[in-house]
């Protein structure tokens, strides 16, 4: 699967996160991102509309 995030977008996201990396390091992480992006595609795909996030919590307990 092709990399969907461009290198320019990747650099912009790093800058927004406040992460400063040298070019060699950034290039390596950008290559690893391609593998992660294929995994991210999987979590996006074919979710039933009624699926709620697993982070929904129990207010009765949390309000104690």
């Amino acid at each position: 699967m092709p990399v969907r995030l461009t290198r320019a977008e990747f650099d912009a996201l790093l800058a927004r996160a406040g992460i400063v990396l040298g070019e060699e390091r950034a290039a390596e992480i950008f290559r690893a991102w391609a593998s992660l992006e294929t995994l991210i595609e999987r979590v996006r795909a074919n979710l039933p509309p009624e699926a709620e996030p697993a982070t929904i919590y129990d207010l009765a307990r949390d309000a104690k």
Binding site: L13, I19, I29, S35, L36, L39, R42, V43, A51, P53
Partner: protein, 464 residues
Amino acid sequence: MSADFWTIAEASSLIARRKLSPVELTQSSLDRIARLDGALHAFLRLDGERALTRAREAEAAIRKDGPKGPLHGIPIGLKDIYDTKDMPTTAHSRQFEGRRPARDATCTKRLADAGTVLLGKLATHEFAFGGPSFDLPWPPARNPWSPDHFTGGSSSGTGAAVASGMILGGMGSDTGGSIRLPAALCGIAGLKPTYGLVPRTGVIPLAWSLDHAGPMAWTVEDCAILLQAIAGFDAKDPACAGRPVPDFSAHLGDGAKGLRIGVLRDFHERENPVNEATRRALEGAVDFFRREGATVRDVKLSPLVEWRACGLVILLTEGFAVHAEMMRGAIEKYGELLRDRLVLGALIGASDYVQAQRRRRELTREMSGAMRDLDILLTATVPAEAPRIDRVPKWGIVEQPNFTSACNVTGFPALSLCAGYGEGGLPLAMQLIAKPFDEPTLLRAGHAYERAMTWRQVRPAIAL
């Protein structure tokens, strides 16, 4: 085997009958550490004087009133992400070098209250995620079965220390497999309990919604003993379940008869094929359970990669959130592996994190459904014996599926235990999974197998 390779169960029985002294036992552990840890690097911090003082106190109390339980006078160690008010807790990172917590983690305190003798703090992958690393203030732990080989991680020091007999048991943590993987590669037992059973208060987080605290020991029985001391509600951990704690040892001896076991054959034969030695070990376990009167059938779940994708997106996003301030302020203090892996979390969008949490609910429902008429799922923990420590791929976390993430995603309890030995005498392992809060059945199944096999009679040659 040397006579002082006691399990917790054996040592506590001898201590109760006044045939073994906690001071002698502690000194024996300290002697072994002095002999081996220069090669194995399992300990980041050892406090022998403190340990001997605690052992003397235990001995005096036992002489006066008898032992307060099976852990009284037993030497243990803690992965160095468990806060200890008497010792620094560093997460094996330059970021936290010299950090002194104000109070003990709940598990630290519960184990102390049970009378254990804490020997020291154990190596981990940096912040339970970056390893094996060679650019940190302390070297990575080495596998006692072959010090050129990987311990697995991230609870690397606990795996090495238990396998070599430096401690009788210890604590690990598991966010994507970090108890079960070192348990597998070091040839011991490691239990990731149900999410919410064991409090994480005072355990340095990696990813809150996936983090589990749990025991590692030479045997399944010893894991049950340790679990008894640490399980139960703690109001300071928002994920902790307010359920009664069962007796985890009560049904250990009930055998495998009547258990209903599902084999996740597609996981370990098709999607992430294990090597021949591991395949034979898993088939041997299946045959054992059948012979003992369990019913065994194959069962299918979504492919491994789906569980890994879901778990990794959540882990990286939450992990970056944990570390964002330090990543911005002092990124140079991290080792390369942790830094580069966590940077990926900074790139994941908010909607993708939420989609992963939605996927997680669906996957949890799927595992629940698959286990409706089953007690145990069986698969591999790792595909093969430990690789050499210098051949562990940096980006394996995103490039390779694993067998362990599924139970961090769902929170179901999972146990790794030794299933024999492969090439070069390195350990093989299998993984058993049970329904939420059914640790008694999980431990019962593991103990039945372990007791019937001879694997527990062999220790690493370096330790003999």
